[in-house]
């Protein structure tokens, strides 16, 4: 009997280990620097691409690229994150970590898209916004907030493709759309697994568990309704056949753009707003149930002295600590 229980728990543990390993392999795949980034994809997908530079306020961010593209005969504005494929390019592109200028350039170009009736296509692959002082003091938070805000009301179709890492607010700054697609091996999360592990597990070593807990894989994000459709990757992953990956993305994007193009702009923008307005499940508590009364100190002491392990609680729940926000 004991053996059976032990065996079973061993089996469960082994299975959990397998899941963790698989999710972590997925994370590594999403981060593979050989994956095609925005410029590589455009080279394969676009008949024409004219890159535009600068935010008209401070500078040009090489970690975000933007410009005008012709794909399958359609005029588009394309904006995307650009990691380097080798050390030299990575240094030049700040390892793909954008400063505020990147998002401000993006907004500027989205403005062009609206005025000249071009749909917007974004490619999302970023660990997160640059976390250093230079980005902070120039208002990375403001730039992301405004970009997100603009995308909630931009009067032109927006298709988002998560191609690698969808890393928190830095990714979200370019990831608000009518349709959100994701490559099969991509990930999307509210914070990096390392950041989550550091805060909740107090150890970056537990990043793998954090990745599992946050359900970061494209497939899981699809199940959660954050991602509308998953685009399959060729062979062992997009990096093994970038041309085919670009073809599959192009096909999926064009299909979506054609569908979105048939929707009147007012309806399109309203539906986009409602999509995001609806995100995030919650319930309405039964008011007749015990409200979360604050418990007086005397009651707590009395409870402790009486040997009550648990204070009055909501049904089906127990006591615990309190930590879990993104920052401390």
């Amino acid at each position: 009997m004991v053996d059976r229980i032990l065996n079973r728990s061993h089996a469960a543990e082994a299975q959990a280990d397998n899941v963790t390993a698989a999710v972590w392999a997925h994370v590594q795949q999403a981060r593979n620097l050989k994956r095609p980034h925005t410029l590589e994809l455009l080279k394969a997908m676009a008949d024409e691409f004219i890159e535009l530079h600068g935010d008209r306020l401070f500078g040009d961010d090489s970690a975000i690229v933007a410009g005008l593209a012709r794909i399958a005969g359609r005029r588009l504005v394309v904006i995307g994150f650009q990691k380097g494929q080798d050390t030299e390019e990575n240094i030049r592109r700040n390892f793909g970590l954008p400063h505020p200028e990147g998002y401000r350039k993006a907004m500027r170009v989205m403005d062009l898209a609206e005025r000249y009736a071009m749909p917007v296509l974004t490619f999302v692959d970023v660990q997160g916004a640059f976390p250093g002082a230079a980005a902070e003091e120039r208002g990375i938070a403001e730039a992301i907030a405004k970009s997100v805000g603009l995308m909630t009301r931009l009067r032109t179709p927006i298709v988002v493709v998560i191609t690698g890492e969808g890393g928190s607010g830095g990714a979200l700054g370019l990831a608000v759309g009518d349709v959100v697609l994701a490559l099969e091996n991509s990930i999307y999360s509210v914070i990096s697994p390392e950041g989550c592990a550091t805060i909740l597990w107090r150890s970056a070593e537990q990043s793998q568990l954090a990745a599992v807990a946050m359900k970061v894989t494209a497939g899981e994000q699809h199940e959660l309704g954050i991602v509308d459709a998953v685009i399959p990757e060729p062979g062992e992953g997009a990096h093994t056949d970038p041309a085919e990956a670009a073809r599959l993305i192009s096909e999926a994007v064009i299909e979506q753009l054609d569908a979105l193009g048939r929707i009147p702009l007012d309806e399109l923008v309203e539906a986009r707003f409602q999509r995001y307005r609806a995100y995030g499940p919650f319930t309405v508590a039964d008011r007749s149930a015990a409200p979360p009364e604050r418990i007086g100190i005397a009651d707590r002491l009395r409870g402790l002295l009486a040997g009550r392990a648990n204070m009055p609680a909501f049904p089906g729940t127990r006591r615990g600590g309190s930590s879990g926000h993104e920052e401390e």
Binding site: D111, A141, G149, L150, R153, F273, G280, F282, V284, E327
Partner: protein, 333 residues
């Protein structure tokens, strides 16, 4: 000497200890005295964190606050477990704060004028924003829109709530979508940033008020220390990312002490008032197929707040500072 009890209460309104040590100047402060000074150290001016309920009491006309949607209850959409389960953390936070989640919103008056107010409570899982907090911010904004009354959001939050995964991230979009509509409708939005306002809350509604007010020395930043520590080895200078830093970098209009916050907001509301009908003051009609108003709104995004003449009507000019006169001693301290 603080009395040590077997558990640590988080609610500032019932610390069992009679004394609190000021982290600013190390003075031992008598708690009853501290309450009278709105939990601001009388020696060094350190602003202690306060609960959402205390904040509301300090800001609104006495007894005018009517809470809405206090029955919204968070759920555990991912089945999230770290060192503890998310439901465990929720219950602990609910017991400690008496709240169901980290924000309180409702309608009130300030200086006799109606406002829609949402206040975050850092005591509840670090004021983190999950679906319920995002929903309350959104509903506060929508009420402001519907009633055409000012929106006031007081932030104190560590950012998005990791345990709700990307649903938390989507709250940035949800709240910004509503705030954009508030803005487009010329409904005033005053954002008050208190210690701390970080992560996804700073990078959404908190940073885009028509007027941004910060409490002195409040920590305000996007990237967290522990987050950036894992990535970037920057040594951060003293005062980095504090309210004064944001003031000098142009992201905060005013740094206001807690004792003056209510009067300051009332004074601002004497200038910022929604025109009676939606769209008044926006360019009418427009050229071409695209409404002009959207372009001007877009331009507002790109060039900032200055030069915006949509609120030029100053019917309510002057300091609308008449209070109801019935506020308690403590709130005027």
């Amino acid at each position: 000497m603080p009395v040590r009890l077997p558990f640590r209460p988080r609610r500032d309104t019932y610390p069992p200890d009679l004394w609190t040590k000021c982290p600013g100047c190390s003075e031992m402060l008598f708690n009853k005295q501290l309450e009278k000074t709105l939990r601001v150290c009388p020696h060094c001016g350190h602003h202690f964190r306060i609960s959402a309920k205390s904040r509301i009491e300090q800001l609104v006309d006495n007894g005018s606050f009517v809470e809405r949607d206090d029955d919204l209850q968070p759920v555990d959409p991912l089945g999230f477990v770290d060192l503890k389960s998310y439901p465990d953390r929720l219950v602990a936070a609910q017991l400690a704060t008496g709240l169901r989640d980290a924000a309180v919103w409702g309608l009130a008056t300030m200086g006799g004028k109606p406002v829609s107010m949402c206040v975050m409570d850092f005591g509840f899982i670090g004021g983190s924003m999950g679906a319920v907090v995002g929903e309350k911010v959104a509903r506060a904004g929508e009420a402001a829109l519907a009633e055409r009354i000012p929106l006031i959001i007081v932030s104190s939050s560590g950012g998005a709530r990791m345990q709700e995964g990307t649903y938390s991230l989507m709250q940035l979009v949800k709240t910004m979508g509503v705030v954009e509509r508030v803005r487009a409708a010329c409904v005033p939005f005053i954002s008050v940033l208190t210690d701390p306002t970080t992560g996804g809350v700073f990078a959404s509604f908190a940073v885009v008020g028509d007027v941004n007010i910060a409490e002195p020395n409040a920590l305000i930043k996007f990237a967290g220390d522990r987050v950036s520590a894992g990535t970037i080895g920057d040594e951060l200078p003293a005062g980095y990312a504090r309210a004064e830093f944001w003031f000098s970098h142009g992201f905060v209009d005013r740094i206001v002490t807690r004792a003056h916050l209510r009067d300051e907001i009332i004074a601002l509301l004497g200038f910022l008032a929604a025109p009676p009908v939606a769209g008044v003051g926006e360019p009418v009609g427009g050229t071409g197929s695209r409404p002009r108003s959207l372009l001007s709104a877009l331009t507002g995004v790109l060039v900032g707040e200055n030069g915006d003449s949509r609120n030029g009507d100053s019917r309510n000019g002057g300091r609308g500072g008449e209070t109801n006169g019935s506020r308690g001693e403590a709130t005027r301290g």
